[in-house]
């Protein structure tokens, strides 16, 4: 094993796991002093083309409280046909099917390279995929048309046996019955009335058919794998029908008086969608896809009234507690989200409007169920169209890149406990010996439900070291964690993916260097960022920033090297060197700063941040900047105002936006039309290069980023200017003497200033620490408990 960097990378590729620490401090006290908690980013369904699933079922530890799965870390007695669980040390017999087992004839799950392995469960009925479209009809004609086309297109992408349903809403909510011939039927609901699931099912007539079907089910589970409902029909059956139906969709016919918003019953529509699936396909993977072109304006879950003169809430209103409908609406959607999650259904929101659409209130629908949240200006944009299309993209096996109704179970060896998880999941409230009392993120459980998953969905999972300070380091022991993900594959199979990882213990006092070297600052930054964002959902922005700062300072104190009282001597080792910078950009990011962002935008950004994998998350925290020039090949440059030069073309990727920025000179050249002159073909190529690269990024990214092509002085250049480190501002422009970049008109501190202060604080605080250590301990524990925010 060469370097930790390689080790980390290798682990990530194999297991989809990145720990903040790759050598673990052996005691609770030491662990807390590490500041950055022991945690990992887990991508449960990381694509592993090289990993064919095995067609048998996993072998479980027989201890009822453990039930860990046989893995390469287990000790196996081949002669006795026994294996010892590495979590509870229970000795287990191999099942009869393993009779032929021997050192040379090992099952896959015992081979070290199969630390991650996927089982296919053959038992049980196969559940179809279910797609329930919930479509807003209060749209402009163009928008509606575009949306209709997208939806029609999507039908062709669905597997033929998947079930689809359609709910449309405007002033009323219509649930379309798809099975009928001739007359198209729909059930209509008032958009202003909140209905219980029972009422909805009664009104849809779903309660009756359940009776006759049930007895038939056990008899022929395979002939009749699922209860078919009038509202959810296999695509292949009603393809044409639904296409026509979509084609005939009209804009909401109710007149909208001048000065009013159309009445949009989104709250009820979602409620009905949830109720419908709840009644027909509980615990079956399903995707509710909500397309909305504006904020809910009536009924439960309304976000804003229909008077146009009253604008939708802003951060300002929220701070002033002036958002009338927010609390109620949020509560409504949370209730729905929880119900959907409990049934394994995920909710996507595709909101396309120029103004806000209430994502702030509705975010829990996606966040708790693992759905997608997509925000665009119009359904008639490529941003939406391609994003939507990409949802149905397929993997190398021709299966959708999505999985449903997953539960993630985490098992830890004794020295560890589970503090919580942050990601698109809800707690299943499974208590156990390995569940910590301190919660980080969604805690208090060892299992989570993730209703919608894709290969990039990533959770942050936080642990607590519980072994006591004076306890000896387990001999040769390694701490182990097993992640077991049950899910419904898009091929409708039930599968279990098991990842078992182990890390060495180290005594923090004697082996701090090891621990330090095994620090994964990228993972740590993202994990800390997730914690910060998680807190930001419920706390005031400045508090979160202060907390982040304090953590950063403490980390620097712990791992910085300096001479007393000499900030200039402050240094961080390589494995920590980038961390402060990440934190600097994180502080400026839209995840923590709401200035200049609407509540909806913030919600959307945070949503994506909480589910993307490490690389994407880092891009979100610290955008990538490439520079193109005649001076050489494209190169990444500092995200700094100094990188903005007249003769460069910059390509910035912030995950949400791709900005191509032409420097002043380049822009002038372009205006002059040099690129069209044959003799300046190289200029043409130069102009083209970032476009091609951007295209490449666009191809791979989900959701589609906003693509911005701008130039020096262009209005859209603000996207770039707001991101770069303001090393040059109007304040210090002349102090720098030399004009190397573009000054940024901001009062924000630059990275340099930030670092300077950090160094100072790092040294200073160290002094005090000894004196107040005992008190600080208390404070720390208080701090910890504050993290625990009930799910």
């Amino acid at each position: 094993m060469a370097t930790y960097l390689e080790f980390i990378q290798q682990n990530e590729e194999r297991d989809g796991v990145r720990f903040s620490w790759n050598v673990w401090p052996s005691s609770r006290l030491e662990a807390t002093r590490m500041v950055v908690p022991l945690a990992c980013l887990l991508t449960p369904l990381k694509e592993r083309p090289d990993l064919p699933p095995v067609q048998y079922e996993p072998v479980l530890c027989s201890r009822p409280t453990c039930k860990a799965i046989l893995n390469p870390l287990c000790q196996v007695d081949y002669r006795a046909r026994l294996w010892a669980c590495n979590f509870c040390f229970q000795r287990n017999q191999f099942p009869p099917a393993y009779a032929g087992i021997s050192e040379v004839n090992q099952p896959a799950e015992l081979m070290p390279q199969f630390s991650t392995i996927e089982y296919v469960i053959q038992r049980g009925p196969q559940s179809p995929l279910i797609f329930l479209y919930v479509v807003d009809t209060c749209l402009e004609e163009d928008d509606l048309q575009a949306l209709k086309e997208s939806l029609q297109m999507s039908l062709s992408l669905l597997p033929p046996d998947s079930l689809v349903g359609l709910i449309t809403f405007g002033r009323m909510v219509q649930v379309h019955e798809l099975s009928c011939e001739g007359i198209s039927k729909s059930y209509v609901f008032r958009g202003t009335k909140d209905l219980t699931a029972k009422q909805i099912q009664d009104m849809l007539g779903l309660t009756k058919p359940a009776v006759p079907v049930q007895p038939a089910r056990p008899a022929q589970p395979h002939e009749q794998p699922f209860v078919s409902s009038r509202f959810l029909q296999p695509v292949h059956k009603i393809d044409m029908n639904l296409t026509d139906l979509l084609g005939e969709l009209q804009r909401d016919p109710w007149p909208v008086p001048q000065g009013k918003r159309p009445l949009r019953s989104t709250g009820v529509a979602v409620s009905i969608a949830v109720g419908l699936l709840e009644g027909t396909f509980p615990n079956t993977g399903a995707r509710i896809m909500l397309f909305m072109g504006g904020p809910p304006t009536q009924g439960p879950g309304m976000v804003v009234g229909d008077e146009l003169k009253v604008p939708i809430r802003s951060w300002h209103d929220i701070e002033k507690d002036n958002a009338r409908f927010m609390k109620k609406a949020t509560k409504h959607y949370e209730m729905l989200a929880n119900r959907a999650a409990a049934n394994g259904h995920c909710i996507d929101i595709y909101a396309c409007a120029l103004d806000q659409t209430g994502l702030l209130e509705m975010k829990c629908c996606t966040n708790l169920t693992g759905g997608y949240m997509v925000m665009g200006d119009s359904f008639n944009t490529s941003l939406f169209k391609q994003t939507f299309q990409r949802i149905f993209s397929k993997d190398f096996n021709g299966h959708f890149r999505m999985a449903f109704g997953a539960t993630l179970e985490v098992k830890t060896s004794r020295e560890l406990k589970i503090a919580g998880a942050i990601g698109p999941c809800v707690s299943l409230n499974v208590k156990g010996p390995c569940v910590s009392e301190n919660e980080l993120g969604v805690g208090g459980t060892s299992q989570w439900k993730i209703c919608g998953l894709d290969p990039t969905s990533t959770l942050g999972i936080y642990f607590e070291v519980v072994s006591q300070h004076n306890a000896p380091i387990p001999q040769g022991g390694r701490g182990a964690v097993q992640f077991v993900t049950h899910y419904q594959h898009s091929s409708t199979q039930r599968r279990i993916r098991v990842t078992t990882v182990a890390r060495n213990w180290a005594d923090a006092q004697s082996q701090l260097k090891h621990i330090e070297a095994a620090f994964d600052q990228e993972a740590a930054a993202v994990l800390m960022a997730r914690l910060g964002v998680f807190r930001a959902e419920s706390e005031e922005g400045p508090d979160v920033l202060r907390w982040l700062d304090r953590q950063l300072i403490r980390l620097c104190q712990k791992f910085g090297q300096y001479n007393k009282e000499d900030p200039t001597s402050f240094r961080l080792s390589d494995s920590f060197s980038l961390y402060p910078q990440f934190m600097f950009h994180l502080r400026r990011s839209p995840f923590l700063q709401v200035f200049n962002n609407s509540p909806d935008e913030s919600s959307c950004y945070r949503h994506h941040f909480a589910r993307q994998d490490l690389t994407q998350s880092l891009i979100m925290i610290q955008p990538i900047l490439y520079s193109y020039s005649f001076h050489g090949p494209p190169e990444p440059v500092l995200l700094d105002s100094s990188s903005i030069l007249p003769d460069r073309i910059l390509l910035m990727d912030t995950f949400f936006q791709i900005v191509i920025y032409l420097g002043e000179t380049i822009a002038q050249w372009q205006k002059a039309g040099y690129q069209d002159m044959p003799e300046y073909e190289n200029f043409k190529h130069l102009l083209q290069a970032p476009l091609d690269d951007a295209q490449e990024i666009l191809q791979a990214r989900f959701p589609m980023p906003r693509y911005i092509n701008t130039e020096h002085g262009g209005s859209q250049a603000r996207f770039l200017l707001s991101k770069v480190n303001p090393s040059q501002t109007h304040n210090n422009l002349y102090a720098w003497g030399q004009e190397t970049g573009a000054p940024i008109l901001t009062d924000d501190v630059s990275l340099q200033v930030f670092m300077d202060h950090l160094k100072k604080l790092g040294c200073l605080q160290r002094l005090l620490r000894a004196d107040v250590s005992s008190r600080r301990k208390k404070a720390l524990s208080v701090l910890c408990s504050r993290w625990s925010i009930p799910a």
Binding site: M172, Q174, E177, C180, G182, I183, S184, K185, S186, Y187, V188, F189, R190, K193, L195, D202, M203, L204, G205, E248, Q250, P253, W254, P255
Partner: protein
Amino acid sequence: MNVNQSAPPVPPFGQPQPVYPGYHQSSYGGQPGSTAAPTPYGAYNGPVPGYQQTPPPGMSRAPPSSGAPPASTAQAPGGQAAYGQFGQGDVQNGPSSTVQMQRLPGSQPFGSAPLVPVVSQPAVLQPYGPPPTSAQVTAQLAGMHISGAVAPVPPTSGLGYGPPTSLASASGSFPNSGLYGSYPQGQAQGHPGAQPPQRSVLPQASSFTPSASGGPRMPSMTGPLLPGQSFGGPPVSQPNHISSPPPQALTPGTQMSGPPGPPPPMHSSQQPGYQLQQNGSFGPARGPQPNYGSPYPGTATFGSQPGPPQPLPPKRLDPDAIPSPQLNELPPQQKTRHRIDPDAIPSPIQVIEDDRNNRGSEPFITGVRGQVPPLVTTNFLVKDQGNASPRYIRCTSYNIPCTSDMAKQAQVPLAAVIKPLARLPPEEASPYVVDHGESGPLRCNRCKAYMCPFMQFIEGGRRFQCCFCSCINDVPPQYFQHLDHTGKRVDAYDRPELSLGSYEFLATVDYCKNNKFPSPPAFIFMIDVSYNAIRSGLVRLLCEELKSLLDFLPREGGAEESAVRVGFVTYNKVLHFYNVKSSLAQPQMMVVSDVGDMFVPLLDGFLVNVNESRTVITSLLDQIPEMFADTRETETVFAPVIQAGMEALKAAECAGKLFLFHTSLPIAEAPGKLKNRDDRKLINTDKEKTLFQPQTGAYQTLAKECVAQGCCVDLFLFPNQYVDVATLSVVPQLTGGSVYKYACFQVENDQERFLSDLRRDVQKVVGFDAVMRVRTSTGIRAVDFFGAFYMSNTTDVELAGLDGDKTVTVEFKHDDRLNEESGALLQCALLYTSCAGQRRLRIHNLALNCCTQLADLYRNCETDTLINYMAKFAYRGVLNSPVKTVRDTLITQCAQILACYRKNCASPSSAGQLILPECMKLLPVYLNCVLKSDVLQPGAEVTTDDRAYVRLLVTSMDVAETNVFFYPRLLPLTKSPIENTTEPSAVRASEERLSNGDIYLLENGLNLFLWVGASVQQGVVQSLFGVSSFSQITSGLSVLPVLDNLLSKKVRGLIDGLRAQRSRYMKLIVVKQEDKLEMLFKHFLVEDKSLSGGASYVDFLCHMHKEIRQLLS
């Protein structure tokens, strides 16, 4: 009548009876034809025949006449003189003497004085008809002296009987006698009663004198006067009748039973009187005697006093029968005492016929104030010359007492029955539409009355004085016109509003809701598709019919296509709306299951123009039956359905009509859910009223909303069991809609009826979102309103919808003194939206006379209208009071009216005389029909729903409808030669009028029966039913086979003609004599005692007489 009293008399009767029976029987049985018949006749006809055939009877009768000395004497003098008077139209009733006088004269003319008198009674009634002005029918029932008389009575009867024999002979001589047996004949011939009416000459007063002087009464019958005149007429008729005596004879026997029933009480008390009466009326007694027995018991029915007299065994009747003969010869008195001859009491048929003959030929010109129009049963043309046609407004009296004291004294309700959108015969022009441009119709500034012919222009035309409130208003410049020398505007005849009684104004935007001109109305068809509806085939039938029916939506004037838009909803436990927008390839169904909180799921495409969306609609109607063919849903909702329709109209911002086709009690969980609360045990208890009240207030609230939106609801019910019509009909009732009920609907049997009703209902012209206000000139005020509408205040009648069949009855009360000179004015203004969406005002004006003499009031009354009012009043009363109370109230009021007349207008005469005002001589018989109606006296087979339904129907009936509804028309089909194409003249609704050799048609506006006598000629059976014998006729048959022969064509033509006259299709039921269905049929023979205990006409008359006497004393 001497209904009075006493049981004692009874016994005597009883005795006689035995005798009688023998008697009768012999006569009857033995010789049904001539002999037997005669006897009864005798009593009856005796006189009659005498009448008509003066000579023979004359002799024999003479005695009777004498018997009734007073009368006769009086008459003698008065004789023709009286006549003369009558002719003049005086109201002579006042002086009883005069009356008698008149009669006498009548009798004299007759030649056979004695007979005459008898005859006269009937005659009186009718004959007077013509001069009707004064006409007063005084039915003098010789008040038997109760106690005193009693004792003697028996003997009399005996005597009478004796005579009968003789009579018989007499009768023998007379064809009449034979007739007797057979009522029909009887009528024609002898039944003086019947004939006289025809004579109709002097209808002034008919007096029955049942009094002790029995005999006298006969004279009193006034008939005499008539005789002269009548003679001419009646005889003619008689002949016809005569033709078929034999069979008749038989019939009488059977029929007899019915009539005899007359109130036992009567007998008891006034046996003598009775007989007398009977003479006239006895008819009944004759054959039936045995039957009598049974009927009698029934008599008890009188609302209040069943008790006393009844004891009499039915058999007595015999005497009656006998009496007639006796009467003739013997002491007529006796006869009178025994019984009342049904033919001697006022006959509705006769009155109707007379009116037809006298007033049917000339147009009724409305120019004269306070003119009583012809009866509703008369075909006449109306020329509007300043007052509204009687087709629009009919009043109970056209002469209003000047003071409230007078009005109170008379107890005659002052009411107008208004049918603002009445359909007119093609010969009459519909009201002119006046457009006053932007300024709108010209109105009085103070009372807001509209310009009308009674407004007085003054100051050279610069101002006008309001005829209602006397306020002086300026004439706007654009309306100015000079006056001619009479003070009339020069342009009076150019302007409908100055010269006509009825006209329309175009309303300006000020008259519109929300100050916006209305959009055209919409029709929404809401179809129950629950299991019952599907199974009965209703849905399929309806959908099929709608396809073509939609082409006949009401349109205005010459419009090419109807402006009415249509929408469709089906429902069971949930509602299905349909989007039938023309641009769709297929209709779309939208299901609303949230019935608890109904709303309309779509706007665009729900209400569409039929022509534009035809293909989609057709496709929808094709698919509806298919879609629900397998439904198992049996529960339905109701209130949400109406709510949905109303909300749809609200959303579309238009008025309209909902057509609901509903099958069952709405028990599904929803607002307006009902439970089965039918409980027959409640009948005749204080809680009975709850059966008529709605179960829940929810429907009232809903109705209010509907009215506010101009949403009229028409309900078609197809129940298989109790559906709680009382509750379901609340909304239709309050929104001016109609309810149709087809119990146990089956396509095969009820298709025609339903479709015909549906077609008519859909096609009829309707006004929407209407407000009606009745303004009156100072002194009287509209205080009460009856009909299908809603009132949110005390003056404005709000009608979500109003069609040409709906009638509003308005009651007036005095609030000041009226002036004889200026009279009283009514102006009924109806603001409505036409079916093309035009906002209009329809104005009807009517001027009435005022009087200071009660006699004037009684001379200008209209009994039909009165009954209309009283029925509605009573039918509303059952909502709040026990039915018994309501009945008693009716009887009391009627008695008071008649007593007042008797006291103040009729000539002094013995208290035993029943004297009826000419105009009200049918009041007792009609009132009895009201009292016997299903609502007020339900039979065992009448369901709670039926009662509620009937109650509802009557509430908005017009005068013609109530008239025939309460007194059904019974038409003999085979009496007149087949070639005779005119409608046969009706016979009285009594079993004794049926002959078993004939076929009759009975209709009451809702039901249509074809009664086939058991011994009808085979040829007739063959040509009508296409089967060879009576026994092969299917009982309950509802369609006559189409056969190519004269009779079949004629009958079918007649049936079609009758149906065309009525607003609802009458399903035909063929009833065979002696068949079990006959019970049903008999229910409509309203002059007979009913199974449910309703009194026979005769009994009731006696009872009424007793009441009056009590009041007078």
